[in-house]
Amino acid sequence: MIPSNKTKDVVLTALWDDNPVFRQILGICSALAVTNLVLNTMVMGAAVVFTTALSGLTVSLLRKWTPRVIRMMVEVLVIAFYVILFDQALKAYWPDMSRNLGPYVGLIITNCIIMGRAEAFANTNPPLLSFVDGLFSGLGYATVLLCVAVVRELLGMGSLLGMPMPFFSSPLWDRWIIMVMPPGAFFTLAVIVWLARTIQVEKDTKKETKS
């Protein structure tokens, strides 16, 4: 068994301190493109969580048998394996969604977050802990994506998950079409990053004045 406080540490670091989007601004390529609708974003988020968690587990299981020089190759292949699984399943059971997401599911392979977690964590840690780390890194990423998507769909279309919201779908609200277009993604993410960083800057200055 893994000690529970270590797991808690890993979870917290993955969700906030090392949140790939807020803190490192990594892997946002695919983050922005699919966030115009909440539903698309949830599927994309699920794909990322699935891939990070399972590739973390697999890379960690294989770490003792992987020669160091070819470990990057192995990591890429493991990640690609899970991405292909997800892509094929989506194509078979939900072809409409597969068309909506276009190439972005495949592009998860080049998402720096997944490779980063495999390289930085799964390579040196036991399988179960790597699975937890991957799971919550993926969830941290998916949460940011969802925040962006909620703002964009609500302001841009007046709905959430396709359901019209009170007020926002009424004539009182002029829909901000710009929010579902590409610039809206940049602006929304910029504001969210700004908020997260301001909170962090305040936290850091508090820590400094205390010590």
Binding site: I109, T110, M115
Partner: protein, 199 residues
Amino acid sequence: MTIGNHMLHLLVVLFAAVFTDNILLARFLGMCSFLSVSRQVKTAVGLGFAVVFVMTFTTALDWLAYKYILQPYAIEYFRFILFIIIIAAFVQFIEMAIERYSPVLYQNLGIFLPLITVNCAILGASLFMVIRDYNLAEGIVFGLGSGLGWMLAIVAMAGIREKLNNARIPKGLQGPGITLIIAGLMALAFIGFTGVLSG
């Protein structure tokens, strides 16, 4: 289709890839290096050229591989792996060739080449090409246009960010925050090109 028509069609594909459907500003690909390498115009130009070059050739290679390896055996789902291997191998090969034959070019371009393997815009261009069912000529022109569009965006961004060095920006907004806002404004400007194609 006459030759004139054909050329016009290719021109439309090129124009769309550079301006109206810019791979960075409308499709959000290649953001990581866009945010981190856009501080200076000089480096942005270097990386831009490397991307144009690699993208043009890899779309061609990927098209051939898709048509003559994946499709005949009906194993299209292997395209993610095959495309990545082709891109990595091509970049590696070019790096060795440049180092051997043109040390000057290697000094200017060499450091950017490894960065390109992980640039999702390169893989993205190939995937878009497959989804849109382009033929070889369209694919190459699309790769060239996407590369040029990416370069245009990163060089423009670097130019703006050089000017921003003297601006006073709120602490939380420095770095990625302000860059994203500028990118949003640029995307807004690029949407203006849409009328050119439909009109």
